[in-house]
């Protein structure tokens, strides 16, 4: 009996240890990103990051301004979110409230497949099929621009946003709907005036989680946005995002150089942005009791 009790304690401690790894990994991510980014903050100093140009390799003067990368990420995230919202919200309303059961059984897994398509395959499809299409439709010089990237990123975010929004819509108490229907409102009026407003916090949180995915996505933007490091807010310009910069340049820098350290600074900024977005959206989901 005594032995059993000891064994029980030991197992509990072991499991506790395993559960703590998540905390450990988060701390280590912050620690190691900070460690590699730190030399940059010491030598050129944090002010260098506020430059307006990103020219990491140059014969005259290297410049590490985050502004073009930041506006690039911002533009693409904004565009992709604008595309994501109507498609996911309409889709979620349809699947949750209007589709027949058999239709739901087909639609849900099919849209889940979209989430399983690797981003590099989507990027490849964008490069070969979508970019030439965008080019010819809008009579552009090149199809590799922010708009093409945003279309594909929206596609990546849609499954996440639909699935969380749908959960939010379905978690609205049935009594709300019944009350509305009993008062003589039509089915559509009930959905648009009662169900969706009640689920709105969940939908907003879903969109924010989707934005987190979009801003952190690498391969699609690396492959289809053209990667010109200019400050622009025009959708048909070529842009370069923070993620693509890290992926494209990390392979060529020497360890410990200023450029190497600058890329880790980009990583830290990216980490802080997604951390913030994630935290706020989880707060919202939790506050309104809409965690799955």
């Amino acid at each position: 009996m005594k032995l059993q009790a000891w064994k029980d304690k030991a197992v509990k401690l072991l499991l506790l240890g395993a559960a703590s790894t998540s905390i450990l990994v988060v701390l280590l991510i912050f620690l190691f990103l900070g460690r590699e980014a730190f030399p940059f903050l010491k030598e050129p100093g944090i002010k260098a990051l506020f430059d307006t140009r990103w020219i990491p390799v140059s014969f005259q003067k290297v410049r590490f301004g985050l502004l073009p990368l930041f506006t690039g990420s911002l533009l693409i995230t904004g565009l992709a979110t604008l595309i994501t919202i109507p498609f996911s919200v309409f889709g979620a309303i349809y699947i949750a409230e209007m589709a027949r059961p058999a239709e739901r059984e087909f639609l849900k897994p099919f849209i889940e497949i979209l989430a399983a398509i690797p981003s590099v395959v989507l990027g490849f499809f964008g490069l070969i099929v979508l970019a030439p299409l965008v080019k010819s439709i809008f009579h552009l010089y090149s199809g590799l621009n922010a708009f093409t990237g945003a279309l594909l990123l929206a596609l990546m975010a849609i499954p996440t946003v639909i699935s969380i929004s749908e959960d939010a819509i379905r978690s609205v108490p049935i009594s709300y709907k019944n009350a509305s229907l009993a008062l003589g409102a039509s089915e559509l009026q009930t959905i648009l005036r009662v169900t969706v407003p009640a689920a709105l916090p969940g939908i907003i949180a879903a969109v924010m989680l989707g934005m987190g995915r979009i801003i952190g996505e690498t391969m699609v933007v690396l492959m289809v946005t053209g990667n010109a490091g200019i400050v622009t807010l025009m959708p048909f310009e070529s842009v370069r995002t923070m993620t693509a910069t890290i992926a494209a340049e990390m392979g060529e820098v020497s360890f410990g150089s200023i450029h190497y350290s600058a890329l880790f600074c980009v990583g830290v900024v990216l980490l802080l942005i997604t951390f913030g977005l994630n935290l706020v959206s989880q707060r919202v989901l939790k506050k309104y009791g809409m965690m799955q």
């Binding site: 059993q4 009790a5 064994k7 029980d8 509990k12 499991l15 395993a18 559960a19 703590s20 790894t21 998540s22 990994v25 991510i29 190691f32 990103l33 460690r35 590699e36 109507p86 309409f90 889709g91 349809y94 699947i95 209007m98 589709a99 639609l107 897994p109 099919f110 849209i111 889940e112 497949i113 399983a116 398509i117 690797p118 981003s119 590099v120 395959v121 990027g123 490849f124 490069l127 070969i128 596609l155 089915e187 559509l188 989680l209 952190g216 690498t218 391969m219 690396l222 492959m223 890290i246 992926a247 990390m250 880790f264 990583g267 990216l270 980490l271 997604t274 951390f275 994630n278 989880q282």
Partner: protein
């Protein structure tokens, strides 16, 4: 009643939007299958690449991806399942438990390229593993950990409380209860949920870009400290870095199809198994 046509219009608009997404997904799958199938033959699957990937097969990339998947599973599954058991069976609402939950949510939102940077800084450089299977698998394991924990917790929650109470009432310790009465009924759910998460890791490019992937390496790895080729990275290289990108188009489509087939068969297999087990254990 006078709004009837308007209602039908809106309803059809919503339906059209939803099916618009479906058609788009369908078209992507169709395009890749149609152009990828002709490239696939035995030599492509089992052969080694030649002339920096312009000819030959993708065997090392397939093997590399499978090794990475295996390494990821080996580290992330036990850790994730153990975390979930602790969180769902032992943890009380303490500050520590809340910190674990916050950490899991945070990890789930970290961009894949940041995991790549982390893996580079910690496993490749600090621990001195170099660009290797070990560094890549550990990086991917950190990335899929939250998915596995969430899926496993869900499976544990599905086991009715009465099973635990019955066992405890008979005098079993908590661990005996979990081992004999909870885990056997939840393991299938944990595994299928986890495979869904791990399947996604197979298609990730950004983390392995910095920690393991080799550009062109026409041999199989000898140890866990070797670099490997991997399908997603191979596709990226063929599509964007290859000097004659147009000429190798069939190889690109072939690689994309193999990768897609691997990832989708993993996830849809897991989904089917999940619905089978859900029907089997109905309380």
């Amino acid at each position: 009643m006078k709004n009837r046509p308007f209602e039908i219009l809106i309803k059809n608009l919503l339906r059209a939007t939803t099916y618009c997404i479906v058609i788009f997904i369908g078209y992507i799958l169709f395009d890749i299958i149609r152009k990828g199938l002709p490239a696939i033959n035995w030599e492509f699957i089992s052969g080694f690449p030649r002339k920096s990937g312009s000819e030959g097969g993708i065997f090392p990339a397939i093997v590399g991806t499978l090794y990475l998947l295996f390494g990821t599973m080996l580290t992330a599954l036990p850790l994730g399942i153990a975390s979930a058991v602790y969180l769902s069976e032992y943890a009380r609402q303490t500050l520590f438990t809340r910190s674990i939950r916050l950490a899991i949510i945070t990890l789930a939102g970290v961009p894949s390229i940041v995991f790549g940077l982390f893996g580079l800084g910690m496993f490749v450089i600090f621990f001195g593993f170099g660009a290797s299977i070990l560094a890549g698998s550990l990086t991917l394991a950190c990335m899929v950990l939250p998915t596995i924990i969430v899926a496993s917790e869900e499976a544990l929650r599905a086991v009715p409380q009465s099973l635990r109470e019955g066992s405890l009432a008979l005098g079993a310790t908590q661990w005996q209860t979990i081992w004999k009465n909870v885990l056997p009924y939840s393991l299938s759910g944990m595994l299928t949920g986890s495979i869904l998460g791990i399947g996604r890791a197979a298609g990730e490019t950004a983390p392995i870009l910095l920690t393991v992937a080799a550009f062109f390496l026409p041999k199989l790895p000898q140890s866990i400290f070797d670099q490997v080729m991997a399908l997603p990275y191979h596709l990226y290289i063929l599509a964007t870095q290859h000097p004659e990108a147009h000429k190798v188009r069939p190889l690109q489509y072939g690689t994309a199809l193999v990768l897609l087939a691997l990832v989708i068969s993993l996830s849809s297999g897991a989904m089917l198994l999940r619905s089978y087990f859900r029907r089997k254990y109905r309380w």
